[in-house]
Symmetry: C2
Subunit: 426 residues, 2 copies
Amino acid sequence: MTETIIEKRARLLGPNFSTFYKNPVHIVRGEGVWLWDNDGEKYLDCYNNVPHVGHCHPHVVEAITKQAKLLNTHTRYLHEGILDYVERLISKHHEGIESAIMVCSGSEANDIALRMAEAQTGKKGIIVTDSTYHGNTSAVSQLSYGRNAIGGVGDHIRYVRTPNSLSDNKDNSVSEAEHFAQNVKLAIGSLEESGHGVSALLICPYFANEGFPTLEYGFLDKAVRQVRSAGGIVIADEVQPGFGRLGTNWWGYQKIGLIPEVVTMGKPMANGHPVASVVTSAEIIKSFRQAFGYFNTFGGNPVSCAAAAATLDVIEKDKLTENALSVGDYALNGLRELKKEFPQIKQVRGSGLFFGAEMCGKDNIPLTQYAEKIAEKMREKRVLLSVLGPNRNTLKIRPPMVFSKSNADHLLDTLRSVMKEVECEF
Amino acid sequence: MTETIIEKRARLLGPNFSTFYKNPVHIVRGEGVWLWDNDGEKYLDCYNNVPHVGHCHPHVVEAITKQAKLLNTHTRYLHEGILDYVERLISKHHEGIESAIMVCSGSEANDIALRMAEAQTGKKGIIVTDSTYHGNTSAVSQLSYGRNAIGGVGDHIRYVRTPNSLSDNKDNSVSEAEHFAQNVKLAIGSLEESGHGVSALLICPYFANEGFPTLEYGFLDKAVRQVRSAGGIVIADEVQPGFGRLGTNWWGYQKIGLIPEVVTMGKPMANGHPVASVVTSAEIIKSFRQAFGYFNTFGGNPVSCAAAAATLDVIEKDKLTENALSVGDYALNGLRELKKEFPQIKQVRGSGLFFGAEMCGKDNIPLTQYAEKIAEKMREKRVLLSVLGPNRNTLKIRPPMVFSKSNADHLLDTLRSVMKEVECEF
């Protein structure tokens, strides 16, 4: 069965269409933090942030069903669904956030955000980190360092080195924040010299794909001041940290003390329904709408807004941000206990329900293959997680927000037994 | 109420966020070809192609509900929903179409199609018409002539004049097809001279936004031969004509006798659920997947595929293509009768349930304002339609595919009374 489906997949969806795991999982059912495969085996989902309030949450399913039965059309007619939702969404942000564009994917949101920056600043240059991912459109996929094989990358993009909480500035002459700011300054200089100027620093304020290094409040302050001095703005990509996942705050930018001009949101926004958004000030949305015609047929339709509103309902009613904080702290403590047993765990870090452990050998050599083996072995024991970071040696644990302390125990117990089994070259 | 909602909309969604009609419609419910506003007034929907099998079709709603209750996750796990659907979808196409990428919007589909062409041909140049629209991403929105205010349009794009079925080649020395081919040849020459080369001709084979001029089978043959001789491929954008709307065929490219290397589909695909796709040969999908990393979180998720499959079910089971042909022919005859009464109807044209009438004054002067007045007055009489074409003087009638002869009578009777009321400068 599995072999047939894999062959069919390669034929119909093309080669190099990646799956998770050497032995991919054939999932047929989901509920809360649980997934079931086609043999009826049950998996603990420690990976998926898209089903934010839990797989197949009945309140979200009901909202989708009710609205899909009643009306699903576009925003060139008037409808209160989008207005009520946007009012709620912007109230979760800082007071400079006044308006929204609703779209279908985080990629579409970031694609718009780049044009908002261009319309507002009159400049083209974009600064991103060298280990990031902001989406899959032609414009946005170029921001992923080293991903595009042909045609090359636009001359208006500059990559800056990802901050590292293992701190390889061994002489301590400059802090990581200062080092980051220096690199941003070099990027600004280069963009100005090439005539593009600085349009935006586009950043995941949790540096999620960068391996979520532990960074202090205010880490970005100097870099951001420089970007603004050069006439640029800051775009916070909240596709991963947003909607309370970090436990301490609704948004990653609040945790690091950043006040972005534009914020993009996606994946968890409607618990899996294709919904994303870009929010900004009245001034910037006006600049954008004057410079570019923009309409999105599916964006902000009544069903999408109902799904997104229902997801907000559950986060609020079930206090899922608070749950993320307490369960996340509990799991981090558990990982720290594990670190005492296994020296290859170099650093335990994270916030709320987005945490992990970086695996290193002697002299901080990244244990990339080892981390991958752990993820594979966890899958065999039916606990789903992954790896990430510049060296892909950090365990990526990012479960639905209804993850409990008992689920954390299940994860930690399984991880302990897997780490005992998998040989480590440390 | 309406004034409040309009103000709220401007505040929350930004200025210049267009609505249909000077007096926008506040829609709250839909069923089949009918929409209801917040005062309970009922409108005949002659415009919306997204609810392809009718607003809120119970079979599609049920499929969405059932799958949303069971599982909604992404394509990095195995799932049969996407495979079964893609198998059905490609079977509707010519035999060179073997694989698909599932995405969320027609914009995302066209954005990928451009990169497929680039990966396959190693070239960058794109040829489109000067009255087209292929979507809203940074890359794709540039293909809409005259839309982008700042930053300019990429030097790799060439616009060719839209074909015109009113035929302004008055000396008849060359046909419209020959004229179109000549313009494509000039574009090819210009792209080669500038070093971009020809990557693709991207075309809606029904020339929908161009005002769906009446074009003969084989119209594109010479232009397409030239594009292929120059090493380029042809992308058919079926977002508007596809899924049987034209009555005579499943796809617009079949009607005009084109065999495209890549086909994009969107709006009507899942009756309003955010689903779109790009299909192509095994060879081209391989080129694309080797050149670019591509993954779409929401694309091809089980709920989206269930919605799309249910939409196909209804088209097939209720023979909606056949319905489009018979009702479309009936309505075209009705419009031809109307033409006898009103000389400002210069040409009646269309196919299946995508038809309209071009309004001209003396010497074929486009009656742009008049056509708009007609659309506004129709809205006041609760029949929803619009205008399109290079001069926006052609009525755009493109209802859900369950439109009946009785609905056509309702449309025609209302149009007759409106045309009697609205003064025409003819």
